[in-house]
């Protein structure tokens, strides 16, 4: 099948949907400028004109209200932020209006708004350009939260998000943009709330979100060379959550590591650990382990950044402890970094 990048997949999904449905428009800071949100909004202005693709003042609060108001009045806006950190300025509109208008109107009003947000990382992004915080948003009832990992996920989930009559936040990790993968040319939907088994295995379940799926794949290859077959589950959306795919896997393997691309404390990993404890207790052969960012703001300098972010090494070490393995020699392995990019395919 044809191979395109994650970024191209996002762009293709939006363009195909905009051709199909004239009620869709795309907007946000920098959306039509020369950088085109890392390329993901390329050609949209040229194809669809300034009414359907426009730049905005740096006014996240009101611009989110704009999307909500347009959505409740017949349109399907896509609002884009190049960093999650900027989305926090819109928290009032997100948590007090977008999430609740359907409920508060007794179901008369729906908010078909897509908010795309890019999770930054690397080259000194620091503590205000690197957050993900998907669980913070997932905590609020009334918002769907999606984290596409592969290029096919990016296209299929974006199309589904646009067609959904509810508000959907789409978290796109910047390091996933470069990877290539097989993506159908035609339009297709991936139902939000269906997880994906990225790798089959019998010894250990790794539930990973977003970028951490790349690290989990790498870790699984290393573990496989050492006789351990890890199963990787990508839930793909936090809300709604495909609980069954996780429960089925952990019930089979009896072991669970959650590798989340976010802080650990009160995070998505905690939610999954609780769910596994509640629903797979009798299958567990060892305690559940959560992996995520260090509980600090994100630093700028590389050696501290390396300490802040977990990677394949972290996963391998936790698997060793969980399975009582001897320490695996990782000296000949190379790991992903800002320079050593993951190019795909999965």
């Amino acid at each position: 099948m044809r191979m395109i990048t994650y970024c191209e997949a996002l762009n293709e999904a939006i363009c195909q949907e905009m051709e199909r449905d004239s009620s869709i428009f795309v907007y946000g800071v920098g959306v039509p400028d020369h950088k085109k949100i890392f390329g993901s909004t390329a050609n949209i202005l040229e194809k669809f004109g300034p009414e359907r693709c426009f730049d905005t003042p740096i006014a996240e609060d009101s611009m989110t209200g704009l999307g909500i108001g347009a959505a409740i009045n017949g349109l399907r806006p896509i609002h884009i932020h190049i960093r999650v950190d900027f989305l926090l300025l819109a928290m009032n509109q997100i948590a007090n209006l977008m999430s609740s208008l359907c409920f508060g109107s007794g179901g008369k009003i729906s908010v078909p708004l897509v908010v795309r947000v890019v999770v930054g990382r690397g080259w000194g992004q620091g503590y205000q350009h690197s957050k993900s915080m998907h669980s913070t948003f997932a905590h609020i009832p009334g918002i769907k939260v999606v984290c596409p990992t592969t290029p096919a996920d990016a296209k299929g989930l974006m199309i589904t998000a646009i067609r959904d009559n509810n508000p959907v936040l789409v978290f796109e990790h910047r390091w996933l943009y470069w990877q290539k993968g097989e993506v159908p040319k035609e339009e297709f939907e991936i139902p939000i709330g269906t997880g994906n088994i990225l790798r089959k295995g019998k010894d250990l379940t790794i539930v990973a979100t977003s970028w951490m799926n790349v690290e989990a794949q790498h870790a699984a290859k290393i573990l496989s060379k050492n006789g351990v077959e890890a199963e990787i589950i990508d839930p793909r959306s936090v809300v709604p959550l495909d609980e069954k795919i996780i429960i089925d896997s952990v019930s089979k393997t009896g072991r669970c590591i959650i590798a989340d691309n976010d802080w650990v404390f009160c995070g998505f990993g905690s939610e999954i650990a609780a769910m596994v404890a509640e629903k797979c207790f009798n299958s567990l052969k060892s305690p559940v382990k959560r992996i995520g960012f260090a509980h600090t703001p994100c630093p700028t300098v590389r050696h501290l950044e390396n300490e802040f972010y977990p990677n394949a090494k972290t996963i391998v070490h936790e698997a060793e402890k969980m399975l009582n393995l001897k320490e695996i020699d990782l000296s000949k392995e190379s790991f992903f970094s800002h320079e050593s990019r993951f190019k795909g395919p999965f």
Partner: protein, 318 residues
């Protein structure tokens, strides 16, 4: 013109009497929802809403009893919602602060100060995009102009020339804080004028003057395609939240109230009806009809059932 006077009076009388009914029944503690009363602003809301087309859309704040009643004219779902019953507009999930009737053009009301203003801008963007000629009017207090999002919205809707009317219901206080303690500028209109929109101000409690002002604003908006900003002064008769007076609290003198009460909008308009030829009997008849309608709605609300508890889980997603 005679008909206009009557229609405006009907709107205002409905609002006043509905709120008096809330005052009467609220102490029974069956309406368990924080009441931000509209009493005093009847002419502001009725005048503007009457100037709009029925297909035009409005959004409001937590103080939107008047807006709901002026826009929809209905009281069954209104009171049922106050009583939290399944026959309410949102089955008891919105209460007094989040009134809505999207089919009749009231898109939403929000209890976070200023937060419905940018949503109104989005609704106006959608109307312009869909070329349906609908106007959106967003109602908010002067306290909302202290929020950044008000200025953000003013900027962008003027930049994009959106069919949006800002209606600042200015009672001079943000909760209990007077303007001089909050704002460094003497007159907000002087600032708003720099935003390239149509700016108006009115101190009167005469609904016909406000109606004319709003019509004038709408004509200007239609002519030059720019948003409108209406600063309409009124006096909040009751406490910020609740059904009582609060002049003993000391943050505002009762003399202010007495000045405004002399030109109470409902009384003024009733007198006007008499002077333009309506008989006392005609007026009493229409008042009685409105009072009966309200009593009927209160009976309907009281006799309605609470929803099944499963209602809680409906509407989180569509």
């Amino acid at each position: 013109m005679k008909k206009l006077s009557l229609e405006l009076y009907k709107k205002m009388y409905l609002i006043r009497k509905a709120e008096e009914a809330i005052q009467k029944y609220y102490p029974e503690d069956e309406m368990k929802t924080p009441m931000h009363m509209s009493m005093g602003e009847e002419s502001v809301v009725s005048g503007v809403v009457h100037a709009l087309q029925p297909s035009d859309q409005v959004l409001g704040s937590y103080r939107s009893h008047a807006l709901y009643l002026a826009k929809t004219g209905e009281t069954d779902k209104f009171f049922a919602e106050m009583f939290g019953k399944e026959t309410g507009m949102a089955q008891g999930k919105s209460g007094s602060m989040h009134l809505n009737a999207p089919d009749q053009g009231l898109l939403c009301c929000s209890a976070i100060v200023a937060s419905s203003i940018p949503v109104a801008m989005g609704a106006a963007y959608a109307n312009k995009y869909q070329k349906n000629n609908k106007i959106v009017a967003v109602f908010f207090g002067d306290g909302a102009t202290d929020e950044g999002v008000f200025w953000e919205t003013l900027n962008f809707s003027c930049l994009k020339k959106l069919p949006l009317m800002f209606v600042c219901e200015d009672n001079g206080y943000a909760v209990h804080t007077p303007r001089w303690q909050r704002q460094c500028f003497p007159n907000i209109n002087k600032i708003v004028e720099n935003y390239d929109c149509n700016v108006f101000e009115e101190n009167s409690t005469d609904p016909e003057l406000i109606y004319s002002l709003a019509k004038n604003a709408l004509a200007k908006m239609n002519e030059n395609g720019k948003p409108g900003f209406l600063r309409l002064h009124y006096y909040r008769y009751l406490e910020h939240v609740g059904i009582n007076e609060d002049f003993d609290a000391g943050y505002r003198p009762i003399s202010e109230f007495h000045e405004w009460q002399k030109k109470d909008p409902v009384n003024l308009q009733r007198k006007k009806l008499e002077t333009i030829g309506y008989s006392a009997r005609e007026i009493q008849t229409l008042e009685k009809d409105i009072e009966d309608k309200i009593e009927h709605s209160i009976h309907f609300a009281r006799s309605s059932k609470l929803s099944d508890v499963s209602e809680l889980y409906r509407g989180v997603f569509i």
